[in-house]
């Protein structure tokens, strides 16, 4: 049977991808951020997942406003990255796991999550930057299942709905008959706002509370509304809903392995959380 080993939640800021591409991780601006990641990689090496289920939000690479799914699940053999328009180098394609994708889609539909399935799906920086942070050499074969949340056009899915989506994904994995090790990756956040006169908004106190509650009391976070999150974490701080999907997939008693927090990376408060599932 498939097993979910845990979850890694991390920011996905494009500037991180630029820093990696330019090889400047050790420069003074970047070192305090990148210093958080060796421990996460170490845990992943030991946990040895075969498949990463990557929960993220598209920023206008794959989806436009003509058709905007709330929850979209990739069901392809391969996922390509592409030019996003502002200069981030593109990465090599990522392998999919169509069998697991279709199992998750079937299971989610049976659990009344009416998801959009995608046999072609470009993955943007919110997918590629976390994978580059967590598996920099790409020396191990890793298959992926992208799960994309709409954070562009309101109404967005509520934090509670996202937490419950995670619970449903957790049940889907537990019911998958193949011997397989899986890990959930939740990307985005923490507090930041790119647009409006309030651009540059960061809320350290709220972020630190989230880093605590995502471990011990995720329902406390799931009870916020999207508008609460916009007010408290900024318009793009709502991306923490991806963390709630990841957390929802785990056992209630999942334990924290590691966390890291750094202000600022570009316009954003950067967060990292590694959670191990109960045995």
């Amino acid at each position: 049977m498939a097993r979910l080993v845990g979850a890694v939640c991390t920011s996905h800021i494009p500037a991180i991808g630029h820093a990696i591409a330019r090889g400047i991780e050790h420069e003074a601006y970047w070192q305090p951020f990148f210093a958080g990641y060796p421990r996460a990689r170490e845990w992943l090496t030991a946990a040895a997942p075969d498949v990463a289920i990557v929960v993220y939000n598209d920023h206008g690479l794959n989806f436009f406003l003509d058709k905007m799914p709330t929850f979209a699940v990739g069901a392809a053999r391969e996922y390509r990255n592409a030019d996003e328009g502002w200069g981030l180098p593109t990465t090599a394609p990522y392998s999919g796991d169509p069998d697991l994708s279709w199992h998750i889609i079937e299971s989610l539909m049976a659990q009344e999550f009416d998801v959009t399935s995608c046999q072609e799906m470009l993955v943007d920086h919110a997918f590629t930057v976390p994978l580059a942070l967590l598996w920099p050499s790409r020396s191990q074969p890793l298959r992926t299942v992208p799960v994309c949340l709409n954070t562009i056009q309101h109404p967005l899915p509520s934090p509670m709905r996202c937490y419950k989506l995670g619970q449903a994904i957790g049940r889907a994995i537990a019911a998958y008959p193949q011997e397989l090790r899986t890990v959930m990756i939740g990307t985005g956040g923490l507090s930041h706002q790119l647009d409006g006169q309030r651009a540059g908004f960061i809320n350290k106190e709220f972020d630190l509370m989230c880093l605590e509650k995502i471990v011990s009391d995720p329902l406390a976070l799931a009870q916020y509304t999207i508008r609460d999150l916009v007010r408290l974490a900024g318009t793009q701080g709502v991306e923490i809903i991806s963390w709630l999907v990841a957390r929802g997939s785990l056992d209630d008693h999942a334990v924290k392995v590691h966390s890291h927090y750094h202000i600022p990376v570009s316009n954003t408060a950067a967060g990292l959380m590694v959670l191990e599932n109960a045995a």
């Binding site: 206008g60 436009f64 328009g85 562009i152 056009q153 409006g196 540059g200 916009v230 007010r231």
Partner: protein, 130 residues
């Protein structure tokens, strides 16, 4: 006999209608803005492709006309004015592909929207750490 209210039969209107967003300095990109900004965002979405970015630089008026931008949107594009683009229905993720053409990143547009220098905007972000 007094009729009892069955919660199952309550009209759902109250639960689904949301009041306008009133967070200062914040644009909530909802249906109203998505409708208003569709042409502008569609043009910006096209800038994922290098050939389209080049075509815009080659003939800005012609490119904007092809996507049917209205006068407000055309003027905001001409001025590279992010707040005006947001007012005109632009979404920041698509707008980033437009500002990227001119090498403007999120810190540049953050500075522009807050009326600060880029250095002052960066300092404000650093200060959030303390």
């Amino acid at each position: 006999m007094t009729p009892t209210i069955n919660p199952q039969n309550r009209p759902v209107t109250a639960a689904v209608e949301t009041p306008p967003c009133v967070i200062p300095g914040t644009y909530l990109f909802d249906g109203t803005l998505a409708l208003k900004g569709y042409a502008l965002n569609k043009m910006c979405y096209s800038f994922n492709e290098a050939a389209n970015r080049a075509a815009f630089l080659e003939d800005e008026d012609g490119y904007c006309a092809r996507f049917g931008l209205n006068d407000e949107q055309r003027d905001a594009v001409r001025r590279r004015d992010v707040l005006a683009l947001l007012e005109a229905g632009g979404n920041v993720y698509y707008l980033a592909k437009f500002t990227g053409i001119f090498g403007l990143g999120v810190q540049d547009i953050g500075a522009q929207q807050t009326g600060m220098s880029v250095e002052a905007f960066r300092a404000k972000l650093q200060a959030a750490a303390t």
